[in-house]
Structure formats: structure tokens, C-alpha cells
Amino acid sequence: MLTRELAIAEYDFAGGCVRPDRLTTGRHGHYAALADRMLAVYRTGLGRMRQELHRDVHGLFANEADCPPRRIDAFCKLLDEAGVFGRDRGGKAAALRREVFQRAARLHPLVAHADRLFEHTEARAKLHIADELGRPWGEIEAALFADIVEFQRLEEFRGYADGRALLSRYNVAQVQAALYDAVSMTVWAGGDFKTILRYARLAGLMHDIERRRAEGYVLRFSGPASVLRETRRYGAAMARFLPALIACRDWRMHAVLKTRRRGWKLGLDLSPADGLHSPVPSPADFDSSVEEAFARRWGAEPRDGWTLLREGDVLTAGQKVFVPDFTFRHADGRRVLLEIVGFWTPDYLEQKLATLRLFAHEPILLAVAASVSQHVPNLPANTIVYKTSVLVGEVLERLSAL
């Protein structure tokens, strides 16, 4: 993702909306060729310093009329992200500095011209140290600060498929950067709403859902402190979530951004009609949660005939919508749902229980964190209490008992 400093957007205070920088074939057709040339700089740049690569990319735009310098910096950032730079893990540069500076300390100060009081010249001291270390001074000086970010060398470049892919990534990245200022996000979703919900949870967002007959589902995303004040605190989580949303079908999104200009609020609207593209991010790119950890431990294969499906079912009772975390399906056709209640509050659990009572006819297993469960008496019989993680064995036991 881009840093906040690299965000470019048009703030339309009269129209009340934000338009992140967007490169389109219509208005920026010549960027396709520029993007190919940028990729070429990195593809042929193995072994070169980050600073040199950036300078060459900037050079491609020297005569380009339509180009904020920040846009070029953003391209550099996205190109850097697709590469691997030498990191000097062993601290070789730091060790060399120590060697050199300690030797030089005995000769301090290194003067330009020797006299009776100060006899160590810069030139002779450097030759002397190079001699002691058995390397030419030029080589030592080049290695002395090799660990500094600008001087790191490109070792590997996975890159983007082509120039268009880079431009496509740029357009998404600018929307993400605009979302850093978001205080809330609403998504109207159709068929893909379970995937949308799952990725929002992975990104650490809280939600409430409402079902609308005509429009499908309305999902509102924010964080715990959002009810107290409008806070940009969860904007980064919304930005992390965005590529997954873009990869879905049949949705539209409205985010409220609080600008740095006297906190004025502007809207950001997006839908598949905007034509942004993004690959579906891997769940591993997110912080792992209790739910993800459980799914990983269970694996893709059936256990005792039970297969684990993620959020396979949607239960509705009037306006109330309930999407359990997992569905288990047995080879013989049986179906059991699993809902995991993480480290939330007793009241959250209370509310969950009230919801579950609406669906009492469904076979639902409940897993509750011990820290929460102790505050709630009379948990349903089919409840698993866990300490830090939900154990596969325990779940299998309950499944067979049902």
C-alpha cells in the first residue's frame, strides 16, 4: 500500500466528494507505454541501487506535461513492493563502520594538510586503514553505508505482468490511500456478501448487517471506538479490505472521509462500474484470527466424514441475518453450523445468544472464549469453551454427539 504522503486525490468540497487519482486509457493513454518502460527499468535493474532505479523512473517523465511528482514516487513505491532488495541482515555495513571509525579514532583529527601538531592527513589515514583491512579504500567507502535504504540493491523483481497491470494496481492503490482518512464504510452487497463479510472481518473491522429485500444486504463497517467519535483510526483496515471488495461482484460502496481541512467530510463512492481490478488477496495477508487458525488446523480434507465450509450458510428471520463462521457437511448429508465468539464482551455474547434463539431449530455449535463465558451463566448445552484456540478434536467430539 502507498503511504499517506503519496496519496493524490481531488477534493471536491462543493460536490462533497473525493476523487482519487485515476489513470484511464481515455485520458492517459500514453501511460501504457510509460508503464512498460518503468517495468523495464526494474526488470533490467537487478544489482542496482534503489536510488538509481528511482532516478531512472523519474527520468522517464522528464518531458511529461501531465504528471505530479508524487505520482512518480507512488509508482516507485509500487515497483519497490514487487521487488526484493538486499537487506544486509548480518549487519556487515555496521560492522565495517565500527572497524573503520575505531581505527580512525586513534588518528583524529584527519586534517587536509599535515603540520607539526596534526600529522594525520585524510588521504594517508584512509590508505592506512585500507591497508589494515586489506581492501582498497574505494571499495570500503562504497560498502560503508550499503545498509541505508536508498543504497540497497535490487535482488529480485517479481514485477507486474505488464504495464497495464501496474497502472491497474496504481489506480487501486490511490483509492486505498484515500481510505486512510475514512471514518466509516457502507457496502450494499448482493450474492458475494459472505466473501465481503469474511474479508472485512479478516481486516479487523466490526460490522452490522441489514437485509433489504430489493437491494440485498447493507453492511456497515467501522471499529470499536467509532461509536464514540468519528475516527480515522480504522481507515487503514478499510484500505486493507478494499482489494477483496473489488474482486467481488454485485456491490457498491460508500465511504465517509474526514479530511484534514478543518475535518470536513466528503464521500467516496465505488462500484464495479468504475472498472477497478484486483486479484483476491490471500487470507494469509491478514492478521490471523481465532477463526482462521481453526480453519487452517482443520485443513481442506474431510475429518470423520465432515467437511469444513467457510460461511457456507445464511440464516434469515425477518430483518435478522445470521452468517455462522463455518458450516460442516457430512458425507451422509447432515449439516451443522459453527459460530466462534472471540474475545468480545459478555454482552456481545448475550446478543449472539438472543440471535441464536431465533434459529433454535438449526443445529448450531457455539465456541466461546473462556474469558467471556465466565460472565454468562446458563450457556447452551452445545457450547465449547476455549482458552486461546478452538481445538479440532473437541469440535469433532461434539459433531459426533449431535
Binding site: 563502520r97 571509525f101 583524529h108 483510526r233 459478555p346 456481545y348
Partner: protein, 467 residues
Amino acid sequence: MPTPPVLTFAAGTLLLSGSGLSRSRAVEILGTPTPVWDPRVGGWRCDALDYRDIRDRLRDTSLSIADDVPAWGRVRWPRVNLPELRAEQQAAVEAWMQTGRGCVVMPTGTGKTEVALAIMAGTAASTLVVAPVRDLMYQWHRRILRGMGYDAGVVGDSTFRVRSVSVTTYDSACIHMERLGNRFELIVFDECHHLPGDVRRDAARMSAALLRLGLTATPERSDGRESDLDRLIGPRVYELPLSAVRGRTLADYEVVRIPVFLTDAEQARYDRLAGDVRQYVADRRKDDPQYTWQELCADTARTPEARRILRSYYAKKSIEDRAEEKLRVLEDLFRLHAGERFLIFAGSNAMARDVSKRFLIPCLLSHCGKKERLEVLEGLEAGRYPALVANRVLDEGVDLPAVKVAVVIGGTASTRQSRQRLGRVLRKVGDQRAVLYEIVSAGTNEERRSRRRRSTDAYAGTRHRRV
């Protein structure tokens, strides 16, 4: 099934939940600012910051609320071995103890850290110390280890090791307070003028700590938001003006300004670049007399010419910053103060590296790891290194060995920066005066910045000598 009301710490907020909590009852318990109903979890929320007031109300047993907020305990210090406090430090400790919440304002070099350590030792509360940068975070770790024999936890610098006493940075505190906010009874904000930023204040707001201590030499902020510290930490409980300590705790000091001239080649290039910039702006003003610098920056998005002019402007600044003559003057100062320890402050990373490569002295830049920083600072103290060059990393509060000679070879004109930098050389060594040299390019913007630096309180009463 009714559940008894319970107050919990929930992701940086407090949540009051349970059966049958009406709004009026929630207000009675949580007080003002008014608690907010959160339909997503079915409970009343308020800021963790308000916990102390709420706790006072909870003492009223008729409320019968289960209080699940604190996850902190007492700390047993392995061995307390702190230096005896000076009178003003003692006064600061006593003033804070009266309220358990508030800011202590003391000039750099007068021992704010000892004040905080004395409070930590006295309260034996689990403590989180929040520092502006990694260097300072590690420095607190060392001071706690040395003073109390306690190996504090570290949250930040890719480490997440939480112990009853921990150190962190503002950025990490802000991110992790959702999980840490109820684990510390005392929170110490070092250089607390950093706290009132829009996002950073979450570090205070999302903490339930009952006891709060802010430390700073320079409470003023350019945005005037220092008044928010009253709510985020507490009122100013103790203030020691800089003028009260000069010459007593701190060495009397002298400021010497040395103008340097650009070489002919530098000057020619400087003039050409400056001419380009002037010409461009003059051309624009022919048809738009109000043409501003902001517009020039906006134009860089549209015209290669504007981008070239902006580059010329930065190149011009870089010539001032990295003038060759500065290195020659520095050599003269090394000769003049042969055998003295030097601290050199550069205006940019590039200049710091220029100095480091010319004289082969260590430079401390932001990329230096914890080990290298420690080795360099200890090396200077032990005399293994004669001098040290830094960029703005050392601006604030980093403990440095006492030096009598400091050299500023570039930097910005802001008040706080110069005052903090002066704090470095102010450390008294015997009864010898400290000297601060300022090397500035003559006839350039640097001269103007230097004049502005000298107009601040920190320089008041110092002597200026031109060489």
C-alpha cells in the same frame, strides 16, 4: 436470563453491559461526556480515559457493578538504586504525588527521567513509558534496568514483549493501546508535547491508567493544542523555567556563529540555480502578480518546467547545506579544541554522511540499529570515539555524554529544535563553559534561519561572538 452489569475494557474503550441498563443508569455510572449506546455489541461505550472518574463512582457500592477493567498488579522492583533527587526534582515529584495526574515541565538536562523513576519506584504501579522514538524507548529500558534492576518489556521496533513495566513509542502505543490499555496503572508520556496529535492522542484516550505523568521541556505546540494535555494527562503540576537553572545545574554557554562562503564553483552554481528560480517566478508574475510558491508546487503536476524549477530550488538548498567550506571550518574547530569531545548536528542525512566520511567519525542516523547506537554512544562516553555526527535523531532527550563543544552545521529554525539541541551542550562539565558553534553559509537562507534561531528564549543571555 438476566446478567449482572459489568464494566469491561474493550479495544481501547470501556463497555458497560448487562441486563436492563437504561440510559439514565448508564449516565449515572459512566458520567459525562455522555456514554454512547453501541448496538453492534449491545452495551454502553465511553473512552478508557474516563476510567478514573468512573472508578471513583463505582466505590459507591449501591451501584453494584462488576469492574473487570484493571488487568494490572503491583510491581516488585528487584532493587532500587536511584540517585538522590535535587531539590527541584523532589519538588516536582511531590507536586505530582498530590494529584497522580499531571505534567512536569523542566528544561533538558535537569533530570526529568529521575523524576519519573522516583515516581515509578514510589508508586510500585505497573507502568508503561511512552517515548517519541526508538532511541529514547531503549534509553528508558536501560534507565529502568539500571535504577530498579527491572528488565522492562518492549513494544515497538518489531518487538512485542509486554511485561508489567514496559516501554514503547508513541506510534506503537497508538496502535497497540487497544490491547494494552488496561494493563498499566501508570502511564508516563516522555516529551509529552507529542501527544496531542490527531491520531497519537489515542495513546492516552485508549488507556485506562489511573495515574498519568507527562514530561517535557517544551510544552508549546505550533498548533496550540498543548491545552488538550490537561484532559489527556492532567494539569501542569510543576514548572522549572530555563532561566532558573542556567549556570547552576547547567553550564553557562556561549554561542559562536561562523559564516562560511561558498567556493567559486559552488557560488556560480548557486547563483545560476537561484537566478533560474527568480526568473521563473518573475515571468509568472508578469501576468499573475499574486503568483505564489504554492502555485508553483501545484504547477509541477502540469509542466516539466515547474518540476525543473522545484529541483533547482532543492539543489540550491543542498549547496547551502553541504558547502565544502563547512568541512574545512570543522577541521579548524577540531584543531582548536584538540582532545575535546564533539557533537555535530547536520541538516540532512547526506551532510551527516559527508562529515562522517571526511573525518571517519561515527554518524547516528535513523537506520542505525539498537546495537550500533549503543556502541557509538558508549564509545563517545568512554573516549573510544572523539566525535559524533547526527541528523535530527538526537534532537530530543537522548542521553549523551557531557560535551563542551557542539557544532550545528545546518537545520531548521524551529524553536523547539534549537532549544533541545542546546540542551545537549548545556550539560555542565566542572566549571567550564560550553560552546555551541553555528556554521552557516553566508548570504544564503541559512543565515536567516540562524538569526531566527537566536531570537528564541534558549539563547537569551548568551554571548555571541563572531569568528
